[in-house]
Protein backbone atom coordinates (compact mmCIF):
# COMPACT_ATOMS: atom_id res chain seq x y z
CA UNK A 1 0.00 0.00 0.00
CA UNK A 2 1.34 3.38 -0.89
CA UNK A 3 -0.72 6.47 -1.45
CA UNK A 4 1.05 9.78 -1.86
CA UNK A 5 -0.56 13.16 -1.36
CA UNK A 6 1.13 16.47 -2.08
CA UNK A 7 -0.62 19.56 -0.74
CA UNK A 8 0.54 22.99 -1.87
CA UNK A 9 4.17 21.88 -2.00
CA UNK A 10 6.56 24.75 -2.66
CA UNK A 11 10.31 24.76 -2.96
CA UNK A 12 12.56 27.76 -2.68
CA UNK A 13 16.31 27.89 -3.18
CA UNK A 14 17.37 31.03 -1.33
CA UNK A 15 14.87 33.57 -2.70
CA UNK A 16 14.00 31.86 -5.99
CA UNK A 17 10.88 29.78 -5.92
CA UNK A 18 11.19 26.79 -8.25
CA UNK A 19 7.97 24.96 -7.36
CA UNK A 20 4.89 27.14 -6.94
CA UNK A 21 2.48 24.98 -5.01
CA UNK A 22 2.10 21.43 -6.26
CA UNK A 23 -1.11 19.50 -5.49
CA UNK A 24 -1.04 15.89 -6.54
CA UNK A 25 -2.48 12.57 -5.42
CA UNK A 26 -0.88 9.31 -6.43
CA UNK A 27 -2.67 6.04 -5.85
CA UNK A 28 -1.40 2.64 -4.80
CA UNK A 29 0.51 0.65 -7.46
CA UNK A 30 0.23 3.52 -9.88
CA UNK A 31 2.93 4.29 -12.44
CA UNK A 32 3.16 8.06 -12.61
CA UNK A 33 5.51 9.90 -14.93
CA UNK A 34 6.61 13.49 -14.37
CA UNK A 35 7.41 14.98 -17.73
CA UNK A 36 8.39 18.46 -18.80
CA UNK A 37 11.20 20.46 -20.37
CA UNK A 38 14.48 20.75 -18.48
CA UNK A 39 14.32 23.16 -15.59
CA UNK A 40 10.58 22.68 -15.06
CA UNK A 41 11.09 21.36 -11.53
CA UNK A 42 10.27 17.70 -12.09
CA UNK A 43 13.54 16.40 -10.63
CA UNK A 44 13.27 18.85 -7.75
CA UNK A 45 9.80 17.52 -6.96
CA UNK A 46 11.17 13.98 -7.00
CA UNK A 47 13.94 14.97 -4.58
CA UNK A 48 11.36 16.51 -2.25
CA UNK A 49 9.40 13.25 -2.26
CA UNK A 50 12.62 11.32 -1.62
CA UNK A 51 13.48 13.65 1.23
CA UNK A 52 16.84 14.67 -0.21
CA UNK A 53 15.83 18.33 -0.15
CA UNK A 54 13.55 19.88 2.45
CA UNK A 55 10.07 21.05 1.45
CA UNK A 56 9.83 24.84 1.88
CA UNK A 57 6.08 25.01 2.25
CA UNK A 58 3.14 22.63 2.03
CA UNK A 59 2.81 19.03 3.00
CA UNK A 60 3.78 15.62 1.68
CA UNK A 61 1.80 12.67 3.06
CA UNK A 62 2.54 9.01 2.52
CA UNK A 63 -0.36 6.73 3.49
CA UNK A 64 -1.85 9.59 5.46
CA UNK A 65 1.32 10.22 7.45
CA UNK A 66 3.12 13.56 7.19
CA UNK A 67 6.58 12.94 5.75
CA UNK A 68 8.10 16.43 5.65
CA UNK A 69 10.40 15.80 8.61
CA UNK A 70 10.99 12.07 8.10
CA UNK A 71 14.51 10.99 7.13
CA UNK A 72 14.82 9.74 3.50
CA UNK A 73 15.67 6.20 4.59
CA UNK A 74 12.65 6.03 6.92
CA UNK A 75 10.09 6.85 4.25
CA UNK A 76 9.97 3.44 2.60
CA UNK A 77 11.08 5.05 -0.63
CA UNK A 78 13.94 3.97 -2.89
CA UNK A 79 15.43 5.95 -5.71
CA UNK A 80 17.27 5.15 -8.92
CA UNK A 81 19.52 8.04 -9.86
CA UNK A 82 20.22 9.41 -13.28
CA UNK A 83 23.95 8.66 -12.96
CA UNK A 84 23.04 5.40 -11.18
CA UNK A 85 25.28 6.56 -8.30
CA UNK A 86 26.71 3.10 -7.74
CA UNK A 87 29.40 3.02 -5.08
CA UNK A 88 32.52 2.70 -7.27
CA UNK A 89 34.65 0.95 -4.65
CA UNK A 90 32.15 -1.81 -3.91
CA UNK A 91 31.23 -4.79 -6.06
CA UNK A 92 27.67 -5.39 -7.20
CA UNK A 93 26.84 -7.55 -4.19
CA UNK A 94 28.14 -4.94 -1.74
CA UNK A 95 26.31 -2.17 -3.58
CA UNK A 96 23.06 -3.97 -2.99
CA UNK A 97 23.96 -5.13 0.52
CA UNK A 98 24.93 -1.66 1.79
CA UNK A 99 21.38 -0.35 2.15
CA UNK A 100 19.93 -3.70 3.19
CA UNK A 101 22.42 -4.03 6.05
CA UNK A 102 21.70 -0.50 7.22
CA UNK A 103 18.04 -1.47 7.51
CA UNK A 104 19.10 -3.81 10.28
CA UNK A 105 18.25 -6.99 8.39
CA UNK A 106 19.88 -10.25 9.43
CA UNK A 107 22.75 -11.62 7.37
CA UNK A 108 20.66 -14.45 5.95
CA UNK A 109 17.83 -12.08 5.07
CA UNK A 110 20.24 -9.78 3.23
CA UNK A 111 21.64 -12.72 1.30
CA UNK A 112 18.19 -14.04 0.46
CA UNK A 113 16.98 -10.67 -0.80
CA UNK A 114 20.07 -10.13 -2.94
CA UNK A 115 19.79 -13.63 -4.39
CA UNK A 116 16.15 -13.01 -5.26
CA UNK A 117 16.82 -9.60 -6.79
CA UNK A 118 19.84 -10.85 -8.72
CA UNK A 119 17.72 -13.63 -10.18
CA UNK A 120 14.95 -11.25 -11.17
CA UNK A 121 17.35 -8.84 -12.89
CA UNK A 122 19.78 -11.44 -14.24
CA UNK A 123 22.59 -10.02 -12.19
CA UNK A 124 23.84 -13.35 -10.82
CA UNK A 125 27.00 -13.58 -12.97
CA UNK A 126 27.91 -9.98 -12.15
CA UNK A 127 27.75 -10.02 -8.37
CA UNK A 128 31.52 -9.93 -7.86
CA UNK A 129 32.19 -7.18 -10.40
CA UNK A 130 32.87 -3.53 -9.70
CA UNK A 131 30.65 -0.90 -11.38
CA UNK A 132 33.43 0.19 -13.72
CA UNK A 133 33.54 -3.34 -15.16
CA UNK A 134 29.87 -3.20 -16.17
CA UNK A 135 28.18 -1.89 -19.32
CA UNK A 136 25.66 0.92 -19.16
CA UNK A 137 22.68 -1.41 -19.22
CA UNK A 138 24.16 -3.61 -16.52
CA UNK A 139 24.85 -0.62 -14.28
CA UNK A 140 21.27 0.42 -14.78
CA UNK A 141 20.08 -3.00 -13.62
CA UNK A 142 22.31 -2.87 -10.57
CA UNK A 143 20.93 0.56 -9.69
CA UNK A 144 17.40 -0.83 -9.94
CA UNK A 145 18.46 -3.91 -7.98
CA UNK A 146 19.87 -1.78 -5.20
CA UNK A 147 16.50 -0.09 -4.89
CA UNK A 148 14.59 -3.38 -5.06
CA UNK A 149 16.58 -5.02 -2.26
CA UNK A 150 15.18 -2.55 0.21
CA UNK A 151 11.61 -3.62 -0.72
CA UNK A 152 10.30 -0.07 -0.75
CA UNK A 153 6.68 0.91 -1.20
CA UNK A 154 7.55 3.69 -3.59
CA UNK A 155 10.15 3.70 -6.34
CA UNK A 156 11.52 6.95 -7.66
CA UNK A 157 13.32 6.86 -10.99
CA UNK A 158 15.15 10.00 -12.11
CA UNK A 159 15.67 9.92 -15.89
CA UNK A 160 16.89 6.32 -15.68
CA UNK A 161 17.30 5.87 -19.42
CA UNK A 162 19.04 9.08 -20.36
CA UNK A 163 22.54 7.56 -20.21
CA UNK A 164 21.70 4.62 -22.48
CA UNK A 165 21.91 4.44 -26.24
CA UNK A 166 18.70 4.32 -28.27
CA UNK A 167 18.57 0.55 -28.81
CA UNK A 168 19.14 -0.25 -25.15
CA UNK A 169 16.69 2.41 -24.11
CA UNK A 170 13.60 0.72 -25.52
CA UNK A 171 14.81 -2.60 -24.10
CA UNK A 172 15.21 -1.23 -20.58
CA UNK A 173 11.90 0.59 -20.95
CA UNK A 174 10.16 -2.74 -21.45
CA UNK A 175 12.10 -4.14 -18.52
CA UNK A 176 10.88 -1.36 -16.25
CA UNK A 177 7.29 -1.90 -17.36
CA UNK A 178 7.66 -5.62 -16.60
CA UNK A 179 9.17 -4.88 -13.18
CA UNK A 180 6.29 -2.64 -12.30
CA UNK A 181 3.86 -5.42 -13.17
CA UNK A 182 5.82 -7.97 -11.15
CA UNK A 183 6.62 -6.09 -7.96
CA UNK A 184 3.61 -3.83 -8.09
CA UNK A 185 4.95 -0.93 -6.07
CA UNK A 186 4.05 2.68 -6.71
CA UNK A 187 6.47 4.13 -9.22
CA UNK A 188 7.27 7.73 -9.94
CA UNK A 189 9.36 8.26 -13.01
CA UNK A 190 10.93 11.49 -14.19
CA UNK A 191 11.78 12.07 -17.82
CA UNK A 192 11.86 14.79 -20.43
CA UNK A 193 11.15 12.25 -23.14
CA UNK A 194 7.47 12.15 -24.03
CA UNK A 195 7.78 8.74 -25.67
CA UNK A 196 8.90 7.21 -22.36
CA UNK A 197 6.09 9.01 -20.62
CA UNK A 198 3.43 7.86 -23.09
CA UNK A 199 4.58 4.23 -23.15
CA UNK A 200 5.13 3.66 -19.43
CA UNK A 201 2.68 5.79 -17.54
CA UNK A 202 -0.69 5.04 -16.04
CA UNK A 203 -0.87 8.76 -15.51
CA UNK A 204 1.34 11.53 -16.76
CA UNK A 205 2.02 14.73 -14.86
CA UNK A 206 3.04 17.44 -17.31
CA UNK A 207 5.07 20.14 -15.60
CA UNK A 208 6.25 23.51 -16.79
CA UNK A 209 8.06 26.30 -14.94
CA UNK A 210 7.39 24.88 -11.48
CA UNK A 211 3.69 24.22 -12.02
CA UNK A 212 1.60 21.22 -13.02
CA UNK A 213 0.01 21.88 -16.40
CA UNK A 214 -2.11 18.76 -16.57
CA UNK A 215 -2.47 15.34 -14.99
CA UNK A 216 -4.04 12.51 -16.94
CA UNK A 217 -3.68 9.26 -18.78
CA UNK A 218 -1.56 9.30 -21.94
CA UNK A 219 -4.76 9.14 -23.99
CA UNK A 220 -6.36 12.05 -22.14
CA UNK A 221 -3.28 14.19 -22.62
CA UNK A 222 -3.09 13.41 -26.29
CA UNK A 223 -6.77 13.73 -27.06
CA UNK A 224 -7.83 16.52 -24.72
CA UNK A 225 -4.82 18.60 -23.78
CA UNK A 226 -5.79 21.20 -21.18
CA UNK A 227 -3.76 23.99 -22.72
CA UNK A 228 -1.38 24.93 -25.48
CA UNK A 229 1.69 23.86 -23.50
CA UNK A 230 0.48 20.28 -23.05
CA UNK A 231 -0.87 20.22 -26.59
CA UNK A 232 2.48 21.10 -28.14
CA UNK A 233 4.55 19.09 -25.66
CA UNK A 234 2.82 15.75 -26.22
CA UNK A 235 2.87 14.26 -29.69
CA UNK A 236 5.51 14.08 -32.38
CA UNK A 237 5.77 15.83 -34.78
CA UNK A 238 4.46 18.72 -32.72
CA UNK A 239 0.91 19.96 -32.98
CA UNK A 240 0.75 23.06 -35.16
CA UNK A 241 -0.86 26.09 -33.50
CA UNK A 242 -2.48 28.67 -35.76
CA UNK A 243 -4.21 31.94 -34.92
CA UNK A 244 -7.79 32.10 -36.20
CA UNK A 245 -10.79 34.40 -36.14
CA UNK A 246 -14.33 33.12 -35.78
CA UNK A 247 -17.25 34.76 -37.52
CA UNK A 248 -20.45 32.80 -37.54
CA UNK A 249 -19.87 29.24 -38.66
CA UNK A 250 -16.60 29.95 -40.38
CA UNK A 251 -13.03 30.36 -39.25
CA UNK A 252 -10.65 32.81 -40.86
CA UNK A 253 -7.28 31.03 -40.86
CA UNK A 254 -4.13 32.17 -42.60
CA UNK A 255 -5.76 33.83 -45.58
CA UNK A 256 -8.58 31.34 -46.01
CA UNK A 257 -12.12 31.00 -44.76
CA UNK A 258 -12.93 27.53 -43.50
CA UNK A 259 -16.53 26.61 -42.76
CA UNK A 260 -16.70 24.36 -39.69
CA UNK A 261 -19.69 22.65 -38.09
CA UNK A 262 -18.12 22.22 -34.64
CA UNK A 263 -16.79 25.41 -33.05
CA UNK A 264 -16.44 26.77 -29.51
CA UNK A 265 -19.01 29.30 -28.38
CA UNK A 266 -18.62 32.99 -29.12
CA UNK A 267 -17.12 35.01 -31.99
CA UNK A 268 -13.65 36.48 -31.88
CA UNK A 269 -10.03 35.36 -32.06
CA UNK A 270 -8.83 31.98 -30.87
CA UNK A 271 -5.99 29.54 -31.54
CA UNK A 272 -6.47 26.21 -33.19
CA UNK A 273 -4.23 23.19 -32.76
CA UNK A 274 -3.84 20.64 -35.52
CA UNK A 275 -1.98 17.36 -35.18
CA UNK A 276 -0.29 15.85 -38.27
CA UNK A 277 -3.06 13.28 -38.66
CA UNK A 278 -5.89 15.86 -38.61
CA UNK A 279 -5.10 17.28 -42.03
CA UNK A 280 -5.57 15.99 -45.55
CA UNK A 281 -3.38 17.35 -48.30
CA UNK A 282 -4.74 18.51 -51.65
CA UNK A 283 -2.55 18.91 -54.67
CA UNK A 284 -4.77 21.74 -55.90
CA UNK A 285 -6.31 23.97 -53.24
CA UNK A 286 -10.12 24.09 -53.31
CA UNK A 287 -12.77 26.16 -51.56
CA UNK A 288 -12.48 25.75 -47.76
CA UNK A 289 -8.89 24.51 -47.73
CA UNK A 290 -5.96 26.51 -46.38
CA UNK A 291 -3.30 27.39 -48.97
CA UNK A 292 0.27 26.40 -48.07
CA UNK A 293 3.70 25.83 -49.59
CA UNK A 294 5.59 22.60 -49.05
CA UNK A 295 8.93 23.14 -47.28
CA UNK A 296 10.24 19.60 -47.07
CA UNK A 297 9.15 15.98 -46.81
CA UNK A 298 10.32 13.39 -44.28
CA UNK A 299 10.16 9.81 -45.48
CA UNK A 300 10.04 7.35 -42.56
CA UNK A 301 9.20 4.04 -44.23
CA UNK A 302 5.70 3.29 -43.00
CA UNK A 303 4.83 7.01 -42.86
CA UNK A 304 5.84 10.24 -44.38
CA UNK A 305 5.52 13.74 -42.99
CA UNK A 306 5.14 16.79 -45.16
CA UNK A 307 6.01 20.14 -43.63
CA UNK A 308 4.21 23.07 -45.21
CA UNK A 309 4.27 26.81 -44.49
CA UNK A 310 1.05 28.79 -44.26
CA UNK A 311 0.59 32.34 -45.48
CA UNK A 312 1.08 33.66 -41.93
CA UNK A 313 4.39 31.84 -41.59
CA UNK A 314 3.29 28.92 -39.39
CA UNK A 315 4.99 25.61 -40.15
CA UNK A 316 2.52 22.70 -40.16
CA UNK A 317 3.40 19.00 -40.12
CA UNK A 318 1.07 16.68 -42.06
CA UNK A 319 1.11 12.90 -42.08
CA UNK A 320 0.78 11.30 -45.50
CA UNK A 321 1.42 7.88 -46.96
CA UNK A 322 4.87 7.05 -48.29
CA UNK A 323 3.39 6.99 -51.80
CA UNK A 324 2.10 10.51 -51.51
CA UNK A 325 5.23 12.66 -51.51
CA UNK A 326 5.52 16.33 -52.42
CA UNK A 327 8.28 18.40 -53.94
CA UNK A 328 9.52 21.45 -52.03
CA UNK A 329 7.85 24.73 -53.05
CA UNK A 330 4.75 22.92 -54.34
CA UNK A 331 1.50 24.76 -53.63
CA UNK A 332 -0.97 22.62 -51.71
CA UNK A 333 -4.27 22.95 -49.89
CA UNK A 334 -4.83 21.76 -46.31
CA UNK A 335 -8.24 20.28 -45.53
CA UNK A 336 -8.94 20.22 -41.80
CA UNK A 337 -10.70 17.36 -40.06
CA UNK A 338 -13.22 19.23 -37.91
CA UNK A 339 -13.45 16.55 -35.21
CA UNK A 340 -9.71 16.46 -34.69
CA UNK A 341 -9.16 20.19 -34.28
CA UNK A 342 -8.30 21.49 -30.81
CA UNK A 343 -9.50 24.96 -29.86
CA UNK A 344 -7.65 27.14 -27.38
CA UNK A 345 -8.28 30.57 -25.96
CA UNK A 346 -6.24 33.30 -27.61
CA UNK A 347 -5.80 35.01 -24.22
CA UNK A 348 -4.52 32.31 -21.82
CA UNK A 349 -4.07 29.29 -24.09
CA UNK A 350 -6.64 27.22 -22.24
CA UNK A 351 -8.66 24.57 -24.02
CA UNK A 352 -12.07 25.70 -25.27
CA UNK A 353 -14.82 23.08 -25.37
CA UNK A 354 -16.49 22.73 -28.75
Amino acid sequence: MARLNLRGVKKRFKSTEVLHGIDLDIGDREFVVFVGPSGCGKSTLLRLIAGLDPISEGEFMLNGRRMNEVHPSQRGIAMVFQSYALYPHMDVYENMAFGARLMGLSKTEVEARIAQTARMLQLEPLLKRRPRELSGGQRQRVAIGRALVRKPEVFLLDEPLSNLDAALRSEVRLEIARLHREIGGTMIYVTHDQVEAMTLADRIVVMNAGRIEQVGSPRELYETPANLFVATFIGSPKMAVISAERTGNALAVAGATVPLARLPAGDGSLRIGIRPDAIRLQRTPTEGSIPATVVYTEYLGENAFVYARLVDGTLVGIRTTPNDLYEPDASVGLLLDNDAIHFFSAQDGRRLPA
Partner: protein
Protein backbone atom coordinates in the same frame (compact mmCIF):
# COMPACT_ATOMS: atom_id res chain seq x y z
CA UNK B 1 32.25 2.76 -48.42
CA UNK B 2 33.97 0.64 -45.82
CA UNK B 3 37.37 0.54 -47.45
CA UNK B 4 39.64 3.11 -45.96
CA UNK B 5 42.37 4.37 -48.20
CA UNK B 6 45.31 6.01 -46.58
CA UNK B 7 47.15 8.41 -48.77
CA UNK B 8 50.66 9.49 -48.06
CA UNK B 9 49.54 12.88 -46.76
CA UNK B 10 47.08 11.32 -44.26
CA UNK B 11 49.84 9.45 -42.50
CA UNK B 12 51.77 11.34 -39.84
CA UNK B 13 55.33 11.68 -41.03
CA UNK B 14 57.44 8.83 -39.72
CA UNK B 15 60.41 11.00 -38.91
CA UNK B 16 58.29 13.68 -37.31
CA UNK B 17 56.67 11.14 -34.99
CA UNK B 18 59.92 9.51 -34.01
CA UNK B 19 61.60 12.87 -33.62
CA UNK B 20 59.04 14.22 -31.17
CA UNK B 21 58.78 11.08 -29.11
CA UNK B 22 62.52 10.67 -29.16
CA UNK B 23 63.03 14.20 -27.93
CA UNK B 24 60.60 13.64 -25.07
CA UNK B 25 62.43 10.43 -24.18
CA UNK B 26 65.76 12.22 -24.12
CA UNK B 27 64.41 14.99 -21.90
CA UNK B 28 62.85 12.48 -19.52
CA UNK B 29 65.99 10.40 -19.30
CA UNK B 30 68.09 13.51 -18.68
CA UNK B 31 65.63 14.59 -16.01
CA UNK B 32 65.88 11.19 -14.35
CA UNK B 33 69.66 11.59 -14.13
CA UNK B 34 69.37 15.09 -12.71
CA UNK B 35 66.88 13.90 -10.09
CA UNK B 36 68.82 10.79 -9.14
CA UNK B 37 72.30 12.33 -9.10
CA UNK B 38 72.08 13.96 -5.64
CA UNK B 39 70.66 10.78 -4.15
CA UNK B 40 73.42 8.69 -5.71
CA UNK B 41 76.10 11.11 -4.50
CA UNK B 42 74.59 11.03 -1.03
CA UNK B 43 74.65 7.25 -0.92
CA UNK B 44 78.17 7.05 -2.38
CA UNK B 45 79.45 9.60 0.11
CA UNK B 46 77.98 7.63 2.97
CA UNK B 47 80.60 4.94 2.31
CA UNK B 48 83.57 7.32 2.06
CA UNK B 49 85.74 9.19 4.53
CA UNK B 50 85.76 12.97 4.43
CA UNK B 51 89.10 13.19 2.53
CA UNK B 52 87.83 10.63 0.01
CA UNK B 53 84.72 12.71 -0.58
CA UNK B 54 86.75 15.77 -1.44
CA UNK B 55 89.31 13.83 -3.44
CA UNK B 56 86.82 12.06 -5.71
CA UNK B 57 83.26 13.19 -5.08
CA UNK B 58 81.80 11.04 -7.86
CA UNK B 59 84.00 7.98 -7.45
CA UNK B 60 82.43 4.64 -6.68
CA UNK B 61 83.20 3.80 -3.05
CA UNK B 62 83.95 0.55 -1.29
CA UNK B 63 80.48 -0.58 -0.29
CA UNK B 64 81.83 -2.90 2.40
CA UNK B 65 83.15 0.06 4.35
CA UNK B 66 80.43 0.57 6.96
CA UNK B 67 82.49 2.65 9.38
CA UNK B 68 80.26 5.71 8.95
CA UNK B 69 77.09 3.77 9.67
CA UNK B 70 78.54 2.14 12.77
CA UNK B 71 79.74 5.53 14.03
CA UNK B 72 76.22 6.87 13.67
CA UNK B 73 74.91 3.93 15.59
CA UNK B 74 77.48 4.14 18.40
CA UNK B 75 78.14 7.85 18.74
CA UNK B 76 74.58 9.25 18.55
CA UNK B 77 71.16 8.35 19.78
CA UNK B 78 70.24 7.52 16.20
CA UNK B 79 67.48 5.11 17.13
CA UNK B 80 66.01 7.63 19.54
CA UNK B 81 66.08 10.38 16.88
CA UNK B 82 64.47 8.03 14.40
CA UNK B 83 61.69 7.16 16.83
CA UNK B 84 61.19 10.85 17.63
CA UNK B 85 60.93 11.69 13.95
CA UNK B 86 58.40 8.93 13.46
CA UNK B 87 56.35 10.08 16.44
CA UNK B 88 56.32 13.73 15.39
CA UNK B 89 55.73 13.07 11.69
CA UNK B 90 53.19 10.33 12.32
CA UNK B 91 51.15 12.34 14.81
CA UNK B 92 51.24 15.44 12.58
CA UNK B 93 50.18 13.50 9.52
CA UNK B 94 47.37 11.77 11.39
CA UNK B 95 46.08 15.14 12.60
CA UNK B 96 46.52 16.84 9.22
CA UNK B 97 44.73 14.13 7.27
CA UNK B 98 41.91 13.63 9.77
CA UNK B 99 41.19 17.31 10.34
CA UNK B 100 41.93 18.26 6.73
CA UNK B 101 39.64 15.66 5.21
CA UNK B 102 36.82 16.43 7.60
CA UNK B 103 37.14 20.16 7.05
CA UNK B 104 37.38 19.73 3.28
CA UNK B 105 34.30 17.49 3.22
CA UNK B 106 32.30 20.05 5.16
CA UNK B 107 33.53 22.92 2.99
CA UNK B 108 32.92 21.06 -0.25
CA UNK B 109 29.53 19.62 0.56
CA UNK B 110 27.60 21.54 3.18
CA UNK B 111 26.24 25.00 2.62
CA UNK B 112 26.64 27.07 5.75
CA UNK B 113 27.25 30.66 6.61
CA UNK B 114 30.91 31.61 6.25
CA UNK B 115 31.97 28.50 4.31
CA UNK B 116 33.56 30.61 1.60
CA UNK B 117 35.38 32.72 4.15
CA UNK B 118 36.76 29.69 5.97
CA UNK B 119 38.05 28.20 2.74
CA UNK B 120 39.71 31.51 1.84
CA UNK B 121 41.16 31.67 5.33
CA UNK B 122 42.81 28.29 4.91
CA UNK B 123 44.02 29.06 1.41
CA UNK B 124 45.47 32.35 2.67
CA UNK B 125 47.50 30.16 5.00
CA UNK B 126 49.31 28.84 1.93
CA UNK B 127 50.88 32.22 1.43
CA UNK B 128 52.02 32.69 5.02
CA UNK B 129 55.72 32.00 5.70
CA UNK B 130 55.39 30.42 9.13
CA UNK B 131 59.06 30.92 9.90
CA UNK B 132 58.49 34.66 10.10
CA UNK B 133 56.30 34.01 13.11
CA UNK B 134 58.96 32.10 14.96
CA UNK B 135 59.33 34.56 17.83
CA UNK B 136 55.62 34.81 18.65
CA UNK B 137 55.37 31.05 18.19
CA UNK B 138 58.23 30.55 20.63
CA UNK B 139 56.52 32.75 23.21
CA UNK B 140 53.22 30.95 22.59
CA UNK B 141 54.81 27.55 23.13
CA UNK B 142 56.57 28.85 26.23
CA UNK B 143 53.29 30.14 27.68
CA UNK B 144 51.54 26.90 26.83
CA UNK B 145 54.34 25.10 28.64
CA UNK B 146 55.18 22.83 25.74
CA UNK B 147 58.66 24.05 24.88
CA UNK B 148 60.98 21.09 24.83
CA UNK B 149 57.99 18.94 24.13
CA UNK B 150 57.06 17.18 20.89
CA UNK B 151 53.56 18.65 21.09
CA UNK B 152 54.96 22.03 20.07
CA UNK B 153 56.28 20.53 16.82
CA UNK B 154 53.12 18.55 16.15
CA UNK B 155 50.94 21.65 16.54
CA UNK B 156 53.08 23.77 14.25
CA UNK B 157 53.31 21.06 11.60
CA UNK B 158 49.57 20.46 11.69
CA UNK B 159 48.93 24.16 11.18
CA UNK B 160 51.47 24.15 8.37
CA UNK B 161 49.95 21.15 6.63
CA UNK B 162 46.25 21.99 6.85
CA UNK B 163 46.08 24.68 4.11
CA UNK B 164 47.49 22.48 1.34
CA UNK B 165 45.52 19.47 2.54
CA UNK B 166 42.24 21.37 2.64
CA UNK B 167 43.00 22.99 -0.70
CA UNK B 168 43.72 19.66 -2.40
CA UNK B 169 40.90 17.75 -0.71
CA UNK B 170 38.17 20.37 -1.20
CA UNK B 171 38.90 20.49 -4.90
CA UNK B 172 38.91 16.72 -5.15
CA UNK B 173 35.72 16.14 -3.16
CA UNK B 174 33.92 18.70 -5.32
CA UNK B 175 34.61 16.56 -8.37
CA UNK B 176 32.85 13.54 -6.83
CA UNK B 177 29.19 13.24 -7.81
CA UNK B 178 26.65 14.46 -5.26
CA UNK B 179 24.32 11.63 -6.17
CA UNK B 180 26.60 9.13 -4.43
CA UNK B 181 25.89 10.72 -1.07
CA UNK B 182 22.21 11.07 -1.90
CA UNK B 183 22.13 7.37 -2.72
CA UNK B 184 23.80 6.56 0.58
CA UNK B 185 21.34 8.81 2.40
CA UNK B 186 18.43 6.97 0.76
CA UNK B 187 20.09 3.73 1.83
CA UNK B 188 19.90 4.95 5.41
CA UNK B 189 23.52 5.87 6.06
CA UNK B 190 24.22 8.54 8.67
CA UNK B 191 26.41 11.50 7.72
CA UNK B 192 29.35 9.97 9.62
CA UNK B 193 28.81 6.66 7.86
CA UNK B 194 28.67 8.37 4.44
CA UNK B 195 31.98 10.04 5.23
CA UNK B 196 33.55 6.80 6.44
CA UNK B 197 32.14 4.18 4.04
CA UNK B 198 31.57 6.15 0.86
CA UNK B 199 33.71 9.27 0.77
CA UNK B 200 36.87 8.06 2.48
CA UNK B 201 37.56 5.20 0.07
CA UNK B 202 36.95 7.56 -2.84
CA UNK B 203 39.18 10.39 -1.63
CA UNK B 204 42.11 8.10 -0.83
CA UNK B 205 44.11 9.15 -3.90
CA UNK B 206 43.80 12.79 -2.88
CA UNK B 207 44.77 11.90 0.69
CA UNK B 208 47.92 10.21 -0.60
CA UNK B 209 48.82 13.33 -2.57
CA UNK B 210 48.18 15.57 0.41
CA UNK B 211 50.11 13.12 2.57
CA UNK B 212 53.22 13.03 0.41
CA UNK B 213 53.03 16.76 -0.09
CA UNK B 214 53.28 17.21 3.68
CA UNK B 215 55.28 14.28 4.94
CA UNK B 216 58.52 15.26 3.18
CA UNK B 217 58.87 18.79 4.59
CA UNK B 218 57.82 17.65 8.05
CA UNK B 219 60.20 14.72 8.13
CA UNK B 220 63.07 16.87 6.85
CA UNK B 221 62.33 19.95 8.94
CA UNK B 222 65.29 21.28 10.79
CA UNK B 223 64.21 24.74 11.79
CA UNK B 224 61.40 24.19 14.27
CA UNK B 225 63.05 21.37 16.25
CA UNK B 226 66.15 23.54 16.45
CA UNK B 227 64.15 26.29 18.11
CA UNK B 228 61.68 24.33 20.20
CA UNK B 229 63.65 21.25 21.28
CA UNK B 230 66.79 21.34 23.38
CA UNK B 231 66.53 18.02 25.18
CA UNK B 232 68.68 15.50 23.28
CA UNK B 233 66.21 12.69 24.00
CA UNK B 234 63.51 14.56 22.07
CA UNK B 235 65.52 15.62 19.01
CA UNK B 236 64.39 14.61 15.54
CA UNK B 237 66.70 13.04 12.96
CA UNK B 238 67.77 16.12 10.98
CA UNK B 239 68.49 17.92 14.22
CA UNK B 240 70.30 14.99 15.80
CA UNK B 241 72.59 14.58 12.84
CA UNK B 242 74.12 18.01 13.44
CA UNK B 243 76.26 16.34 16.09
CA UNK B 244 78.67 15.72 13.24
CA UNK B 245 78.65 19.28 12.05
CA UNK B 246 81.32 20.90 14.16
CA UNK B 247 82.41 24.49 14.25
CA UNK B 248 85.91 23.59 13.06
CA UNK B 249 85.48 20.28 11.32
CA UNK B 250 82.58 18.44 9.85
CA UNK B 251 82.55 14.70 9.32
CA UNK B 252 80.83 14.62 5.96
CA UNK B 253 80.98 10.86 5.56
CA UNK B 254 79.03 10.23 8.75
CA UNK B 255 76.66 13.06 7.92
CA UNK B 256 75.86 11.49 4.54
CA UNK B 257 75.38 8.11 6.14
CA UNK B 258 72.89 9.68 8.53
CA UNK B 259 71.14 11.45 5.67
CA UNK B 260 70.90 8.22 3.73
CA UNK B 261 69.32 6.48 6.68
CA UNK B 262 66.95 9.35 7.32
CA UNK B 263 65.88 9.60 3.69
CA UNK B 264 65.25 5.88 3.49
CA UNK B 265 61.84 5.74 5.23
CA UNK B 266 60.46 8.52 3.05
CA UNK B 267 61.73 6.90 -0.13
CA UNK B 268 60.13 3.61 0.92
CA UNK B 269 56.82 5.33 1.72
CA UNK B 270 56.92 7.06 -1.63
CA UNK B 271 57.55 3.87 -3.56
CA UNK B 272 54.78 2.04 -1.71
CA UNK B 273 52.28 4.83 -2.31
CA UNK B 274 53.43 5.89 -5.77
CA UNK B 275 50.77 3.90 -7.60
CA UNK B 276 48.02 5.66 -5.65
CA UNK B 277 49.87 8.94 -6.01
CA UNK B 278 49.94 8.72 -9.78
CA UNK B 279 46.34 7.53 -10.04
CA UNK B 280 45.35 10.46 -7.85
CA UNK B 281 47.16 12.95 -10.04
CA UNK B 282 45.57 11.69 -13.22
CA UNK B 283 42.07 11.06 -11.88
CA UNK B 284 39.65 13.42 -13.51
CA UNK B 285 42.06 13.89 -16.38
CA UNK B 286 40.67 10.82 -18.09
CA UNK B 287 36.97 10.27 -18.06
Amino acid sequence: MSTVTTTYSDRPGLIATLGRDGLIQIILIANTFIMLAPIVIMIFSAFKTTPQIFASPFGIPDFTNLVNFSRIWTQTNFLQYLINSFVVTGASMALILTLGTMAAYALARYEFFGAGFILMFFIAGLTLPLKLAIIPLFMLMRDLGILNNQLSLIFVYTAMGLPTTIFIMTGFIRTLPNELEDAARMDGASEARIMWSIMLPLVRPAMVIAGIQNVVPIWNDFFFPLVFIQNDRLKTLPQGLTTFMGEYSTDYGVLYAGLTLSALPIIIIYIVLSRQFISGMTSGAIK
